[in-house]
Structures are given as C-alpha cells and as structure tokens.
C-alpha cells in the first residue's frame, strides 16, 4: 500500500532558483534564505520518498490563456524544464510516476473533483525551485514527481476549502494504490507577496505567521478563510497559499488519524519580492 509519510510546504520564488543557478548562495542576502533549508536537505536524505506529489501553479508557462484548468494532474513519464524567457534552468528534467498519477486521477475524479489530465507539460520555477531548495544540485532528482497544477492566475481560483477537501481525496486515492510506496505531498507558493501595481512589495509578517500556526493546528478552520482576505492581507500573489491547503488536507489527522509532528519551521523576509515560509510535517 502506498502511504503519505510527510508533507512539505515552501515558497517557490524564481529568484531563489536564479541564486542557485548563478552561484550566489554564499552571499549574505541569500545565505539567510538557504539557512532555512539546511535541516530540510538532511531530513529529506534520511526520509527519501519514492514519489513526491508536488502541488504548484504554472506561471503562464505550460498554460497560456487558450486553456486554463482549475486543477491539472500530470500523468506523463517525463517533464522538461521550461524556458520561461531566460532559457531553461540548468537543472535535471523531472521523471513522472504515470501509474500512480493515473490511479490518483481516476480515484479523485470519481470523488467528484473535475481534474484535467495532462500528458505533456514543461514545468516552470513553481515546480523546480522547491526541488532545488529541498534537494540541492543533484545530477538527477532523487525521486519521481507527480506535478499537480492549480490555477491561481485567472480569477476565480479554487477556494481554500475546495483545496483542503481535494487534499483529502488525494490521500484516499494514494492509500488505495497497491504498490508499497513512500509518498510525500508538497504544497508550494506564497507566502505574502504582491508582484504588481503601486502596492508591489507588500509583506505581512504577522498574517503569514498566523497562517503557519493555523496550518499546523487548525487547518480546517484556516480553509474557511475567503479569497479576499488573502488578497487584502497577503498581497495579490499571496493567494498561492491556497495550494498549501491541498497538502495539509492529505495528512492523516484530517481523516481522524494522529496529529502530524512538526519537524521544521522557517520564516524569512525577503527573497526578492517575497516572504519565504517553510514547514515540514510528518505523519506519525
């Protein structure tokens, strides 16, 4: 039986990828960011998953305005690293987990989530930066990845509660897969940031930390927070945080199991325009 052993939450700021690719990680500005991931890299080596179910959003890379899926699951065997306008990041391509992904798609659609199935997709910084943060610079990524893309670009985006319930459906799907697999689920994006308009640069340290508290302790209550609060308090791109609720919804306690153990928590301002938040929760 496949099982979800842990969930990881992290911002996916493109400048973090650039800092690694341009060998700036030792600069004090960036050292402060990467210091928050030292524990995480050790932890991941000791807790290596077979598959990571990676929730992210595409940033106008794989999906143009021709077609905007609310939820898209990648069922391909292989994903290329996208050229977002400055050439592809010099990181390995991503290996998929088609059997498990197809199984999850089938199960989750039958649980009344109207997924879009994607068999071809280049993956952007939303997916590769979390991999870089957690894995460093390996020759190839040490596990398979199921990319799961959420529309947070064009409104209306899915509600926090819809995301939280989707996480529960994903958990059921994974736990009904016959193969003995260690699966982690990662929620990425956020924390507070605004990339547009005269209000660009907004950071809300207090709101972010309360979000982290509540994500750990009362995720179902947190899932009730309406979109407008994200936009008003965490900036227009802070809405990406709804994706963390998908990962959180997939943890055992939500289905009546034991509370997860908090292995790591980190918060830092700034990375480029963004607050960086990061959590690791383990199912016990």
């Amino acid at each position: 039986m496949a099982r979800i052993t842990a969930s990881v939450y992290t911002s996916h700021v493109p400048a973090i990828g650039a800092a690694m690719d341009l060998k700036k990680t030792e600069e004090p500005y960036w050292q402060r960011v990467f210091s928050g991931y030292e524990f995480s890299r050790r932890w991941l080596q000791e807790n290596k998953p077979d598959v990571v179910f990676l929730v992210f959003n595409d940033h106008a890379t794989a999906f143009s305005l021709e077609m905007i899926p609310t939820f898209a699951i990648g069922t391909a065997a292989h994903y290329k690293v996208a050229d977002e306008g400055w050439g592809p990041r010099p990181v390995p391509d991503v290996e998929g987990a088609p059997d498990l992904a197809a199984h999850i798609a089938q199960s989750v659609i039958q649980q009344d989530f109207d997924l879009t199935i994607v068999n071809k997709m280049d993956v952007d910084h939303g997916l590769t930066v979390p991999l870089s943060l957690m894995c460093g610079e390996p020759k190839q990524w040490p596990f398979k990845v199921i990319p799961f893309a959420v529309n947070v670009v064009q409104y209306p985006v899915p509600s926090g509660m819809r995301c939280f319930k989707l996480g529960q459906a994903i958990r059921k799907a994974i736990e009904s897969f016959d193969e003995d697999l260690n699966v982690q689920i990662w929620g990425t994006g956020g924390m507070s940031h605004q990339l547009q308009g005269p209000r660009a640069g907004l950071i809300n340290r207090e709101w972010d930390n309360r979000f982290l508290d509540r994500l750990i302790d009362e995720p179902e209550e947190l899932a009730k927070v309406p979109h407008m609060e994200y936009v008003e308090e965490a900036g227009s791109e802070g809405i990406e945080l709804v994706m963390w609720l998908i990962a959180r919804g997939a943890m055992a306690d939500v289905a009546g199991g034991a509370k997860p153990e908090l292995k790591h928590r980190f918060y830092h301002v700034p990375a480029s325009n963004t607050a960086v938040g990061h959590l690791i929760l383990e199912n016990t």
């Binding site: 400055w86 507070s192 547009q196 209000r199 950071i203 301002v269």
Partner: protein, 124 residues
C-alpha cells in the same frame, strides 16, 4: 455581472479576472511567445515590427514599448505573462515589480530588505 467583485477595491491592485483576461488576451499571448529564444531575438531586433504581428491594440503596443507595466496591467496584462518581457530584457522580477511602484530600484530593494511594504499601505 451581478456577482460580487470585492477585489475591485484593493488599493494599487488589479485582479486578473475573466474581464481583464479577455481585454488582455493578445497582449498576454504575445508575452508568452517570448518563451522561445527565436522570438525573443526577433522582438529585440525590431520591437515594433514584432508587435505588429499581433492583433493587440495600439495602446497595448505603446505600453509594451514604454515598458509601462502598470499601463500593461490596466490594459489586461497579467504579471506572470508580462514577466516574459522582463526576462527578455534581462531584468529580475524585483526590478520589474519595483518599476510599478514609483520608487527607484534601490529604494525598492531597501524597502524589501527592511521587511517589505506595510500591509496597511493605501488603506483607509
């Protein structure tokens, strides 16, 4: 459109909804074309000629030529799409975001190092 659009009232912020998306369709699709190195080269060589290949409004073209991102957003552009212009120009996302605030690059960078913009900014 009777559905609430409460996000119309957030200061200094444009939410990219279906209405904006329709207005900005070709502007944004133009931006996406810059994900191909070949198109970036053609755009850099003659921006105006490249823009004229797209059914964008003259206002949209002028806003792109002027790199006026606030205006681009007003005309339906979305920042994730517009970012491809910045990437083509070799600008960082911080430079792009800062350019919309009326601050100098250094002022903006220092504001971020100092903890970012106050979330109460612009509120009544």
């Amino acid at each position: 459109m009777p559905l609430d659009k409460p996000y119309k009232n957030v200061p200094g912020t444009t939410i990219f909804d279906a209405e904006q998306s329709r207005m900005g369709y070709w502007l944004n699709q133009f931006c996406m074309s810059l994900m191909k190195a070949e198109n970036r080269d053609r755009f850099k060589k003659d921006e105006r000629a490249y823009l004229d290949e797209w059914p964008m409004t003259e206002d949209q073209k002028q806003a792109v030529l002027a790199r006026d991102l606030n205006r681009c957003i007003q005309l339906g552009g979305n920042i994730y799409f517009l970012a491809k212009i910045g990437a083509t120009d070799g600008k960082s996302f911080q430079q792009m975001a800062g350019s919309m605030t009326g601050m100098s690059e250094e002022e903006y960078r220092n504001m971020m190092i100092g903890g970012g913009r106050d979330p109460k900014w612009g509120r009544k």
